[in-house]
Amino acid sequence: MRNRKAVTAVAFAAAAALALSACGTGDDKAGSSAVADVSAAPKDKAATVLDQPFTKPNLVLTDTDGKEYDLREATQGKPTLIYFGYTNCPDVCPLTMSNISLAKRELPKADQEKLQVVFVTTDPERDTPASLGKWLSAQDPTFTGLTGDFPTIQAGARQIGIGIDAPKKEKDGTVVSMHGAQVIAFSPKTDEGYVLYGEDTSAEEYAKDLPELIKGETP
């Protein structure tokens, strides 16, 4: 009898706690973001170094001057960052490109000239060489912008672990495009893609790692 009552009380308490936590949407959210912060804290590096690097994709596309651009040939032996995105992207794509631009400008001049930053569009239908060039040069005129046919771009992205879907037209006429999840750094020593950066990587984090990437070292 006594035991049973205790159990009931516990059950009530548990139910009350559940009810409370279900109501406290704000508190829940604060709680979950705190957890996210904690789990992010031990990872003090922005870079993810790959155990098995990617071979540089054999991508031949069109640059912003309308000329043919062979990725392997143009970037051979040069430190290279590649990102897949689209210009009708108000947030993450310009954030990523501008962060890299800021970081690049902190390098010594000779290193700036070595570093190749390549932006490949995921929305070639809307991103013509001209419009892509205009968008990119507003952020950094030294960056290379590439466009071409979507299947070629998608296949190239897939070879370095970047999944992108073709832009899709919604019923209301808007186009939903997709940007790649990561920036990939290729080594000047091996020409392999060996380091990944997520979209939340800051300009400071790129600035800290670029001197290593320029030398093909592990950040």
């Binding site: 009552k5 009380a9 009530f12 308490a13 009350a16 009810a19 409370l20 279900a22 109501c23 406290g24 949407t25 704000g26 508190d27 829940d28 959210k29 973001s33 912060d37 210009t87 009708n88 992207c89 108000p90 947030d91 993450v92 310009p94 954030l95 490109m97 501008s98 962060n99 800021l102 205009k134 968008w135 507003a138 952020q139 992108i164 879907d165 209301d172 808007t174 939903v176 495009s177 997709m178 940007h179 790649g180 999840a181 979209e199 939340d200 800051s202 300009a203």
Partner: protein, 149 residues
Amino acid sequence: MNRRRTALAGVLALTAGAALAGCSSDGAPDLKVVGAYLPQPVSDMAAGFLVVQNSGDAGDRLTSVTSPLSDDVTIHETKNQKMREVSSFEVPANGELDLERGGNHIMFMKLKQKPRQGEKVSVELHFEKADPIKVDLPVKETTHNPKKQ
């Protein structure tokens, strides 16, 4: 034994009462906007970010945004590297709606002029229940991305 049971019942009733009060949707949303900004755009589109705090006991929804900067202002969510227009965003009771970089945002298309860092862009937020709120979004550098509080 009997007395103890009564006391216990009292505590439970109180707890249940508090829980119910917390859940009540009889109250009204009480909204405040903080942390608003607009990164300097690099093309003829821009994104705006802010946090809507709701200290009221009732939830609300952000349904639209208007601004003199553009006649084409929409609200978007970003999921799996794709952004999609949504018809509204929840502003939970005693909670907040975060529009932050890499996630949900206000999207301004076909800008009437290109705002520069240091300027301000005014917007009006429209809600399902609460009165509209006018906010000035300071234009920050393109890479502005404040850490979460």
